[in-house]
């Protein structure tokens, strides 16, 4: 068992994939000699060469569009988009092409492209460096979207994403890049299926669902709730599309209460989808309406006030109070 940061775990996961699959390759701006602006690809160009770790021109549509062509030729490209807010120039290629080629070809063609996007706020950065655009992609059929919250998952989920025959968007919680954790490189364990949610803390009074950067926040809130004598279950969703509703439903049938927390704006977000589905599936088990905790309906605010925007322990506890008051 090795201890490493999430950034290092992704790096090791990429290394393992590059080693085991001669047709896998990485593409993106600055990912070669610089090792990426977050150094996630550090050292890989030295080990695998410039054909496998491609420093690409600065063109997001070009990165994803050429990755599609490489996948059509039998390759497994992993694209890095430097920051969440820079994915939009590639939005056309992702939603009109990448997501649809398998369907348009009646299943004859597959495009196993992975798109890595460091996402989310909390790093005090400037505009377009802190966004959570996952719902924009989740609405498009044909894409799979996952987001690890810890090093072990990061190591295995990136490898599973590359093996997957479907296109996968891999949202990396950038403010957790330096979060250390134990990684079992021998045994994937629950990470064997990256599209399944994990119950990371068991409880009986309410369920909190979170993913990516908010999982540690949800766990901290659950710990704080002990002081008030409350037993809170926490689910790490891991997969944003598809959502593992079965695991969430099972938990809600036990606790009767559900809070969904994510950084993205609540309006039109994944939280609303989970609330609606769980209301349909477990209406008679719910003791309170599903409550969402998320961002406001505004452009991601300037860094100096982002703490007021981001879901934190207090906001989740406030939601718990409201839920338990029913």
């Amino acid at each position: 068992m090795a201890t490493m940061t999430i950034a290092k775990a992704i790096n090791e996961g990429l290394r393992a994939s590059l080693k085991s699959n001669p047709k896998s390759l990485l593409m993106g701006e600055d990912i070669g000699h610089l090792g990426g602006v977050y150094r996630v690809t550090d050292g890989l160009i030295k080990e695998f060469g410039a054909d496998r770790v491609v420093d690409s021109p600065l063109a997001e549509s070009g990165i994803v569009g050429t990755a599609i062509g490489l996948a059509l030729r039998g390759y497994f490209p992993v694209c890095e988009i430097q920051f969440d807010g820079f994915v939009y120039p590639a939005f056309n290629q992702i939603t009109t092409q990448l997501a649809k080629i398998h369907a348009r070809s009646h299943g004859r063609l597959t495009v196993p492209v992975v798109i890595r996007i460091p996402y989310g706020g909390g790093i005090g950065s400037i505009e377009h460096h802190s966004e959570s655009p996952e719902a924009l992609f989740a609405h498009t059929a044909g894409l799979r979207i996952i987001s690890p919250s810890n090093a072990h998952d990061a190591y295995w989920m990136i490898q599973k994403a590359i093996e997957c025959q479907d296109p996968v968007i891999f949202f990396e919680p950038k403010r957790r890049y330096w979060l250390k954790g134990e990684v079992d490189v021998e045994n994937a364990g629950l990470s064997e299926d990256p599209f399944k949610a994990h119950v990371v803390r068991e409880g009986t009074d309410a369920t909190i669902v979170a993913y990516g950067p908010l999982v540690p926040v949800a766990l901290a809130a659950a710990n704080a709730a002990i002081e008030d004598g409350r037993s809170i279950e926490v689910i790490d969703l891991r997969s944003i599309s598809p959502v593992d509703f079965d695991t969430v439903e099972e938990s809600v049938k036990k606790t009767g209460r559900l809070i969904v927390a994510h950084e993205a704006p609540t309006f039109g977000g994944i939280g609303g989808e989970i609330a609606a589905r769980i209301s349909e599936r477990a209406f008679l088990h719910l003791e309170a309406p599903v409550i969402r905790v998320g961002g406001f309906h505004m452009p991601y605010p300037v860094a100096k006030v982002e703490e007021d925007y981001l879901p934190d322990i207090d906001k989740i506890l406030e939601a718990l109070d409201r839920s338990l008051a029913y």
Binding site: L25, A59, G62, A67, G74, N92, H102, D246
Partner: protein, 397 residues
């Protein structure tokens, strides 16, 4: 005079500079071998490539151009009769498509836009399958791997990037093949797009990537002069072929109504690409004689005289003149071509009527390559919902 008065002499300098800059955007020379008069000329570079085309091949060019024009007429008629939702005519562009497609080899992969019916014909795509998309029974139709002819793409220029990525894959395959000692023939990619698509950012990015990695790709732009109602002049201030210089690879303008020149130029470009010398841009200077699609009305935006002038340059007529003058084809040949065209039209008409409407279950099956719980859940709901109607039906009986 305000405070922005220019220093003495500046306006003249400006005028002279502007004239020089404008001159640099004057039309490039156009490669032409077979003129509108049906006479074969010479070209210092490409005559050698034209010499490779034997009389039998010329007859195939003519037959294919005539067949695809006949197909185009039939598809237009089918649309008018309500059998197709839309049709995208190619009449006028037969030489650009047939000439370039015949220059490709089976191992080359082709990414079309949505008007490349002539290329599809040469790549042996069943034209009835090609009509599936226009009849609304498929968003694709044929097996792209069967003919190395990709599906049509309605989002303009998206495929130019796929073409470059695919070409980058070919480069990698060659490196892996060297290691594994493979005898696979060298391959290249052709990306077809139009003058309208040339304004899309993806064309720019595809050319940047192709140049950066010397990808074996030939960009084949059919400049048919009209992007629906917007003329080429609004898309570009310089000849499109000139743009290649800015990316650092060769650009050639060819008479797109001259099947011999198109074939010669494309064959050279593909060899150039296959041999690892990098990309080439070909601008086939041609004209879309008909409407953009059957939903379009060209009389609203262009002069009939312009169409008439281009009809004088018709690609079929000029090759017919040449074949007859040189005694390379007799009357029986032309009669046979016409009979083959009628046969094709008959086939297309009968198979179109017979194209099966798919079951929506096929759509559930192909959203994802791997199992997906949401798809399974929605399909199960649909089955139950449908079964309810069947039960009602049985009860009524």
């Amino acid at each position: 005079m305000g405070s922005t008065q220019l220093p003495p002499g500046t306006d003249e300098t400006l005028a002279a500079t502007s004239a020089a800059v404008a001159a640099s955007g004057e039309p490039v020379e156009m490669v032409q071998l077979l003129g509108p008069d049906g006479k074969l000329g010479t070209d210092p570079v490409f005559s050698d490539y034209a010499k490779r085309i034997d009389p039998e091949k010329l007859r195939v060019f003519y037959a294919d151009m005539a067949r695809i024009r006949r197909f185009d007429q039939e598809a237009t008629a089918l649309q008018r009769q309500g059998e197709l939702a839309l049709w995208v005519p190619l009449t006028g562009q037969e030489a650009a498509q047939i000439g370039s497609a015949h220059a490709s080899q089976p191992q080359d992969y082709i990414f079309p836009t949505y008007r490349e019916h002539g290329v599809a014909l040469v790549r042996n795509v069943d034209l009835a399958e090609l009509l599936k998309q226009f009849r609304g029974v498929s968003n694709g139709g044929w097996d792209p791997r069967g003919n190395n002819f990709h599906l049509y793409t309605l989002v303009l220029a998206a495929q130019t990037l796929h073409a470059v990525g695919y070409a980058m894959g070919i480069q990698r395959d060659q490196k892996l093949a060297v290691a594994g000692d493979s005898n696979d023939p060298k391959a290249a990619v052709i990306a077809y797009f139009g003058d309208g698509a040339s304004s899309e950012g993806d064309v720019h990015e595809s050319m940047v990537f192709a140049a950066s990695y010397d990808a074996p790709v030939v960009f084949f732009c059919q400049n048919n002069h009209w992007a629906i109602s917007v003329p080429t002049e609004v898309q570009t201030k310089v000849p499109l072929a000139n743009r290649a210089k800015g990316y650092g690879f060769p650009g050639i303008r060819v008479d797109g109504n001259d099947v011999i020149a198109v074939h010669a130029v494309t064959e050279w470009a593909l060899e150039h690409a296959r041999e690892g010398r990098g990309p080439v841009l070909i601008e086939a200077y041609t004209y879309r004689v008909g409407a953009h699609t059957t939903a379009d009305d060209p009389t609203k935006y262009r002069e009939l005289a312009e169409e008439a002038a281009w009809r004088e340059k018709d690609p079929l007529e000029r090759l017919e003149k040449y074949l007859r003058t040189e005694g390379l084809a007799d009357e029986a040949f032309f009669e046979q071509v016409q009979a083959d065209g009628d046969e094709l039209a008959k086939y297309v008409r009968s198979t179109t009527h017979g194209l099966e409407v798919p079951d929506i279950r096929d759509s559930f099956a192909n959203v994802y390559a791997e199992a997906h719980p949401l798809i399974a859940e929605e399909q199960a709901w649909f089955e139950e919902y449908s079964a309810g109607f069947e039960a009602d039906q049985e009860a009524a009986n």
